[in-house]
Subunit: 163 residues, 2 copies
């Protein structure tokens, strides 16, 4: 196996492990847990899940794989000035599931070479100078972001799992 | 630039960003914050910092770069049955700084090819079958781990930064 192929496999595997951790967490978290704040006055558990779904949703266009599944939900969970009413917990769960499944199906079709191509928010000129601004790097940064938030969910999950 | 070189650059950059976030957090966190629990009955902030230092410390031997800086501290922050007294907050800060600086100096000497070589806890036979068990994958997994815990520190940091 060539090193570039190994590197793609490693990063895809890190992403997949992260997605699996969120999926498993959603099976464990009750609707009451979803409604808890991570800390007094801070984001709720359900917001973290919705936020990760919105980041999944933004990846379709950044990776050149299609359009957002739900523009309103995407904006609600990533912007401060969304005009829509807060999605309910079951809607948030469904948004994560849908973005996650469709995204993971879509990226399965990308080749090793595709992953090293530029993503859609960098110009051809800039990419020629900065070849690390490729699709694989987008997935890597989203994997780091996912782990950041999973670390927060783990604080809520651990006491549940020990009972 | 070859794709394998680009991939190494991306993962090293992810690691470096993570290390920088911890360093910056340590400048912001007072000793009182270090003594806070992340949640009632859960790990203290200082434990998270010491745990990240211990993971740094374990990387010297896994990457073939040398020996642990402090075996006692490493065991205290990674095992449940350590016999030593809890390191103080200033000792924990110093442990993170020392492991972090020495590790980052040591890994700067590794070439692209070195990163795709096997790490020291996998056998040559297993590595022949599983080439992803290389040094770069160790650094990637530790970067994901660092982000997991930084997400927790961010819950403590955000209110501080807003005041």
């Amino acid at each position: 196996m060539k090193n570039e192929e190994t590197a793609v496999k490693m990063i895809l595997s890190g992403w997949k492990n992260g997605q699996d951790k969120i999926q498993k967490a959603l099976l464990t978290l009750s609707d009451e847990h979803m409604d808890m704040e991570l800390m007094p006055g801070r984001n709720k558990v359900s917001w973290v899940v919705g936020h990760l779904a919105a980041v999944n949703d933004s990846l379709f266009s950044i990776l050149g794989l299609g359009e957002k599944i739900n523009e309103d939900y995407h904006d609600y969970f990533t912007k401060d000035d969304s005009m829509i009413k807060a999605p309910g917990i079951s809607q948030t769960r469904a948004y994560w599931k849908e973005t996650s499944e469709q995204l993971d199906n879509a990226i399965a079709a990308l080749s090793v070479q595709d992953w090293f191509e530029r993503h859609t928010t960098v110009s051809a000129e800039d990419f020629a100078k900065e070849p690390h601004r490729n699709k694989l790097n987008v997935l890597l940064s989203r994997t780091l972001h996912l782990n950041h938030h999973f670390g927060q969910l783990a604080l809520v999950l651990k006491p549940i799992m020990h009972h």
